[in-house]
């Protein structure tokens, strides 16, 4: 499994490096007297590509011996991780529109109530406290200028 993962990751970095080198080439390599904007990255891309190929070759070589390796991704908790990631993404998407207070409250209620399956009263109470304290600390004390969003009219 690990070798398969190495092959996949090696292939990914290889594609990435080749792409970077191609883009750098288009930017212009310049001359040795006057290196252009693509110079360093063209060569970095080439070196990284060679290294990626090495990773792939090594993983192909030892294929047979280490087949009993543990799987890279356990099935355990995959849903939890995906749900957390989705909630983070939604936080970013709606932060400016809904405003810090609403989106933080919803984020916490979701994490505690839905993902962690705590009692609703507990989840809502903790979320309210966290939202209030973080607002006071960051917006009031540290003046972080968090987005007000829908609650903009309040301006308290």
């Amino acid at each position: 499994m690990k070798d398969k993962a190495d092959r996949a990751s090696g292939l990914f970095w290889l594609t990435f490096s080749v792409f970077v080198s191609y883009q750098s080439y288009k930017l212009g390599l310049g001359t040795l007297h006057q290196p252009g904007p693509g110079f360093l990255f063209f060569w970095t891309g080439i070196v990284t590509a060679i290294l990626s190929v090495t990773v792939i070759v090594i993983s192909l070589r030892k294929r047979s011996s280490e087949e009993t390796q543990q799987p890279t991704f356990g099935k355990k908790n995959v849903t939890k991780i995906v749900l957390v990631l989705i909630s983070l993404l939604l936080y970013a998407l709606f932060m400016e529109w809904l405003g810090f207070l609403i989106v933080t409250l919803l984020f916490f209620i979701f994490l505690l109530g839905v993902i962690e399956k705590k009692r609703w009263l507990f989840a809502i109470l903790v979320s309210l406290i966290v939202t209030a304290i973080s607002y006071l600390v960051f917006e009031r004390a540290l003046q972080s200028q968090l987005p007000q969003g829908l609650l903009d009219f309040l301006r308290f």
Binding site: L27, H33, F41, I81, M95, L112
Partner: protein, 499 residues
């Protein structure tokens, strides 16, 4: 000599200003907390808290952020000894003997010697820093673009050499970091690179959101998968003050750890993690009873705990005098200084003496604070450990979100952080080390500028890097580090990374 004394007095005047004292206190307090909490290292903490320093002066900000780093070195030992869970990577080795001591009812002396050893080593490092700093600054003034280029190459190579897992993968990570540093405007030609017409990429990819993703978000994702299981030692912690015999046993370990740690801290690519492992190995060799190691030898706690503190102090040297960070934590600190409008390097001492000497002297004060703070507060830190993870991780995530947003008041930084959070999670699964990527990302622009300036200087002749002796020395070191693992089995000093 007198000049140094004057500088130190000046440093005290800066560091003893009430606001700076308060920020120093906050820094070491937060640092200890971060050290105690597993799953949140100093690198992530500094990145997260950077936006909270935007409204204060650069001096106060640096004093606080520095405090987080060396404060974490103290806090990490507490959890290693009491729970057998290292709060952060530099305290992993402390688990070996510290936890055994605790099992034998000697948790008190173990915590005590760790705190005193840390204090002695921390103070030693700061004193050494006071003398070595100006010296190195003067040498560095003679550095031209070729020397800087070669030095940065060495720094990145050492870090890949010491990083966990495959060195090839670490080198790929360094390459990717370098490429990422190229995003945005090219300072020499004014052309935009790799921006693909995305508005938020025009200013480049920031070190801080990337670090938050790699060291903050991805760590939470990993912990969600494994569910940390913590059994806290229920025995009462008593007799924090080590006995005379304990002192006699560990005094030389502390001395050796301090000196070793300091030098390993200075070397680009080195740092507290490597120092703690190296110190443990040396103490075991030096001991008349090596068989006691792993069964509760006090030297196995005193040495590494001293070494990691000393290294934390030492690693400020390359940052403050050369502008080259020795490890990811320093890389983030460099990013922080640059956001505050400062350019660390040999001129920092002249351009911002209050920052240079104020920060150094604040470390004397911070170390004293830590000693006072740590021993009586140990029961509190044990309580902190009992905070359940289902409450802790939403808080860490919220801090990441607020931190990333407040960098520039834009959601784009949150998106960058999330992308690197997922990438970091996958990288950890596939054994790619994030540290070289961060270092290369923060050094990238300087590396490119010095390369292009060198080639313009020499009119396209690459021999400029090998005809200048200092540059040649750096490059030989780098080449050796690249060849050694191919020829022999690379000795793994550490399986963990700084951060």
């Amino acid at each position: 000599m007198i000049e140094i004394l004057q500088n130190v007095i000046f440093g005290f005047q800066v560091a003893l200003q009430p606001t700076n004292l308060i920020y120093c206190f906050f820094g070491v307090l937060i640092g200890t907390l971060v050290g105690v909490l597993p799953g949140l290292g100093p690198a992530a903490a500094i990145a997260l808290l950077l936006p909270t320093t935007f409204k204060i002066t650069p001096v106060s900000a640096t004093i606080m952020l520095a405090g987080i780093y060396y404060g974490a070195m103290y806090g990490g030992s507490t959890t290693s000894i009491l729970v057998n869970i290292p709060g952060e990577a530099a305290s992993v080795v402390t688990c070996l003997d510290g936890y055994q001591m605790a099992l034998k009812g000697r948790a008190g002396p173990a915590l005590g010697i760790a705190a005193f050893g840390s204090f002695i080593a921390g103070t030693f490092a700061v004193i050494a820093l006071t003398f070595v700093g100006p010296l190195l600054s003067n040498i560095a003034l003679a550095f031209g673009p070729p020397e800087y280029f070669s030095l940065m190459i060495v720094g990145i190579t050492v870090l890949t050499f010491l990083s966990s897992g495959s060195m090839i993968k670490a080198l790929i990570m360094a390459g990717v970091g370098l490429i990422l540093s190229g995003v945005g405007m090219d300072t020499i030609s004014g052309k935009y690179r790799f921006t693909f017409n995305i508005q938020s990429l025009l200013d480049g990819v920031g070190v801080v959101p990337v670090a938050m993703g790699l060291f903050g978000i991805s760590e939470v994702l990993l912990n969600l998968e494994t569910e940390i299981n913590r059994d806290i030692l229920t025995t009462k912690v008593k007799n924090l003050f080590p006995t005379l015999k304990d002192w006699a046993d560990s005094l030389w370990s502390i001395v050796r750890g301090s000196i070793l740690g300091f030098f390993l801290g200075i070397i680009p690519g080195g740092g507290a993690v490597v120092a703690s492992f190296a110190s443990y190995a040396i103490e075991k060799k030096a001991s008349k009873h090596p068989e006691e190691f792993g069964k509760g030898a006090i030297q196995g706690v005193a040495g590494p705990e001293s070494a990691n503190n000393s290294a934390a102090g030492g690693s400020f040297i390359p940052l403050l005098t050369l502008g080259i960070p020795a490890n990811p934590v320093m890389a983030i600190l460099l990013g922080a200084l640059m956001i505050h409008g400062l350019q660390p390097g040999p001129l920092l001492m002249q351009n911002a003496p209050d920052l240079f000497w104020g920060t150094i002297v604040s470390m004397y004060i911070g170390n004293a604070m830590l000693l006072v703070l740590n021993l009586p507060l140990i029961p509190l830190w044990v309580k902190v450990l009992k905070v359940p993870y289902y409450l802790l991780y939403p808080l860490i995530l919220l801090f990441c979100l607020i931190g990333a947003y407040s960098l520039d008041n834009t959601v784009a930084d949150i998106v960058i952080m999330l992308i690197f959070g997922i990438l970091g999670f996958l990288m950890k699964k596939l054994r790619y080390d994030g540290a070289p990527m961060i270092l290369a990302l923060v050094l990238g622009q300087k590396l490119e500028t010095s390369l292009r300036r060198s080639l313009i200087m020499s009119q396209g002749d690459f021999s400029i890097f090998v005809t200048r002796p200092i540059s040649l020395g750096f490059l030989i070191t780098a080449v050796l580090l690249l060849i050694v693992p191919v020829v022999t089995q690379r000795k793994r000093l550490s399986t963990l990374k700084e951060g």
